[in-house]
């Protein structure tokens, strides 16, 4: 098979699961596998790597059959070196993921980027941002992450960290953020922070997955849950307005678990966005749901390899 027609091995590595897939040069996801990310005392760095290599081995025999390896991994990481220290995978601290994968596949390009960046890239290449040149892709979930495509190219920034919309300030006197700052979007609108706020207002979570439960309760008309989603949506709208004015975007694509809450989150978001994004040039920007769902990160990871310099110019 000519190198240009070979599929790419795409990996999506997070605190909940590790996924692998073969993605063809057109961006279609072929064979794929996923395993839960192991946690606990026996899940050390080496065992995680073993589980990942076994996952890979179930899809790929050697590096002749693939055109490269693209990886989205939870941050932080050094970039482009790809030494990863995912917040939600404590066993990996400074783990040389890119170098290890390059040893497995010595003849293939290996590229590692932030998982939220890969989601944004996937949505730009084959999702809600197809054909536009300026996109902010967002993931609203345990955190609030994102990636920026401007002038039809991925923006990496000085250290590969461009796209951190979750740490745009939406209220300078607002709640403390895990980053050490104050009033960041993530401190208001992430799933866990949203649930904490609702609990302070008298809402009670029955199970562990409280953000999902909060969304369900809001859908059933629970007043505090509805107000919690309004509050998060408003903060999201403010941050997106700021990003739109700063970057002159075409499309903002919103994905991640919490975005499943639908209009109860997205209507207040749109209202706050339109209230604050008032420059003439901001009128045409479209704020839309992401289209690729769970596959966005894999498609974007593959695009790091498949799309020339558009998403990887190091």
């Amino acid at each position: 098979m000519s190198p240009r027609r070979r599929p790419v091995l795409a990996l999506d590595i997070g605190g909940t699961k590790m996924a692998a897939a073969l993605v063809d040069p057109g961006g279609r996801v072929g064979r794929s596998r996923r395993v839960p990310t192991p946690h606990g005392p026996r899940a050390d760095s080496a065992s995680l790597w073993r589980i990942l290599t076994r996952l890979i081995g179930s899809l790929v025999d050697d590096d002749v059959s693939i055109g490269g390896v693209g990886v989205g991994c939870g941050g932080p990481m050094t970039w482009p070196a790809g030494e990863v220290s995912p917040l939600n995978i404590p066993a990996w601290r400074g783990f040389p993921l890119r170098a290890r994968l390059a040893e497995l596949f010595p003849k293939a390009p290996v590229r590692v980027h932030n998982d939220a960046v890969c989601v944004a890239v996937g949505e730009h290449w084959r999702g809600a941002g197809r054909g536009v040149h300026n996109l902010l892709g967002m993931v609203i979930s345990t955190g609030v992450g994102g990636g920026l495509v401007l002038g039809n190219r991925l923006v990496d920034g000085a250290s590969g960290n461009a796209g951190h919309i979750g740490h745009v300030v939406v209220d300078p006197d607002g709640p403390d953020c895990a980053c050490g700052g104050r009033g960041c979007l993530e401190a208001v609108a992430s799933g866990p922070r949203l649930a904490v706020w609702a609990q302070e207002q008298g809402w009670h979570a029955a199970t562990g997955n409280s953000a999902r439960e909060l969304a369900d309760d809001a859908a059933r008309g629970h007043e505090v849950a509805i107000r919690a989603l309004e509050r998060a949506g408003t903060a999201l709208g403010v941050a997106i307005a700021s990003a739109t004015h700063l970057c002159d975007l075409d499309v903002v694509a919103i994905g991640g678990g919490l975005s499943q809450a639908g209009p109860l989150l997205l209507d207040p978001l749109e209202q706050a966005f339109r209230r604050h994004a008032r420059m003439d040039f901001a009128r045409d920007v479209r704020v839309v749901p992401a289209e690729l769902g769970q596959q966005a990160g894999l498609v974007g990871a593959a695009a790091l390899v498949l799309c020339g310099e558009r998403y990887w110019s190091v």
Copy 2:
């Protein structure tokens, strides 16, 4: 003279003055002239154009002697078409500046961009951002404007309007902004808005140029004037923190009249910035004064023509 060695005609057109200069391929400003921008009932569109052509004629005979024309003009404008409607030049509404200049110089490239964008480009090419790949250049004056260079290229955005840091939201419940939004940086930290706030707190302006006077009074220890600059500096620090997290910047270069207030503005700015820009990758960003002063806009306008695709890729 070989085309590559020819100087470029640079124009900087705003509500206060129109400036023209010959800028050599190394970015040095040679012969230059400026005239006050005429206002009032006799300053119609045609007479403005006559004055501009006379200004140009005092420096350039024909289009053989120059390598092109680069223009920074007050916004808004259509881009890249260069039909300009500068807020502070009411006589020009949809004036086809780029097309008119192209008629004057039919053999030379003519490029028109926002004046604040040209300041940012000038600071990136030959000023405080020399050698870095990711810069936000800001102009704090009658308004708060800016321009973004990311990955060593100017970011234009969907309509040439990227860089509008003045309309990043710093306080969602803050003062109304002229753009129709609320709590924009410009609504807090522009010279005129700053002076209005100080007057509401009991400060009195003796002359017309109240922002300059406010800075002078603060330097003399006037308490309300000092608090006004603190308030503006804090808002600037918050907006710059947001921009840093979103774009992963190397350098933020701050120019414009109000930045002359020095530490009384820049110290509170730095404090607010460090309070809010807490992600690891934001630690190394440098917030510094612009270096090129009044020449930044002219140098940046010339760079639109002189620097290949770095600042003009349309």
